[in-house]
Symmetry: C2
Subunit: 169 residues, 2 copies
């Protein structure tokens, strides 16, 4: 084997710059930062986990619903809720009752204690959203969301389709 090639600082810098404009690199990083920031905010508001916060918020806003409904609104996998909810029930934040009409379903309902936990975290999280709105105008947010809509569509297209695609450009 040949002797070690040296580290080339210029090539690294160039590579870093390339990756800076790669959506598939920036998206994970932005998400990770968002998760960290979310957790830090929540530490100031009763130390809920992110999943717990989202769930309390949704239940507060929309009333009782099934696990699937929660997963749907949160755009996440039901298994995440399936695992988190028993703990939330044990903490007294929610009740879980089997559906009367459809016995497959679990109806999740906010308890008073859950509403209290929500009330404690809510103003902190409202501040977060308010702070975001000082960085981005409503119009910008709308464009941003529009991009995410289109990106979502793209990301959910079957890989086979995309691979077969004639790359015209």
């Amino acid at each position: 084997m040949s002797e070690d090639a040296p580290i080339d600082a210029k090539r690294l810098q160039k590579r870093r710059a390339q990756e800076d404009s790669n959506i598939f690199v920036r998206l994970p990083a932005a998400y990770a930062a968002s998760r960290v920031q979310g957790r830090r905010f929540l530490q100031h508001g009763g130390d809920l986990s992110i999943v717990e916060w989202r769930t309390l918020w949704d239940l507060h806003e929309a009333g009782p619903m099934t696990i699937r409904d929660l997963a749907n609104i949160q755009r996440t996998d039901h298994s995440l809720l399936s695992r988190a909810l028993p703990q939330m029930r044990d903490k007294g934040y929610v009740t879980m009752t089997r559906g009367l009409e459809d016995a497959r379903q679990i109806i999740v309902t906010l308890t008073e204690k859950g509403a209290d936990a929500y009330a404690k975290a809510a103003p902190i999280m409202a501040r977060r959203r308010a702070a975001l709105r000082e960085e981005f105008t409503d119009a910008e947010i709308a464009v941003f969301i529009g991009f995410l809509d289109r990106l979502d569509d793209f990301l959910r297209r079957p890989v086979e389709d995309l691979l077969q695609m004639e790359t015209v450009k």
Copy 2:
């Protein structure tokens, strides 16, 4: 306790709509979808993990570098690489040698086998980026990246600052 409130389909729909325009909900969902799509593409190109692919790509583009350099370019935590690299070395994709000038560092270098694995996955992943460029113009990508830059800045500001902020609006 009062009897169970019924599920209110209209409220659920409204809540779903609200969350649809919440950046903090859409970002995780978009990232998760991106990760799934990335993995599916990689299954067509030698079954690398996402971390492995990123690492082979960076090493191919920029030559040998330290673990910290890799983490830096990928905008991720060094511990992720610290765990992934020994496995990549065992698979024969990279070598890890202690830095001569700075003995704290590990210099990661692509092997021939690593270059082969890269060459196998690269055209598939290039297709992915090409497909994305058919959905978004270069100008749109630039705006998108600009949003992500600004979002990153926001997400990295200390929570205390944001909480103390007078929310003027």
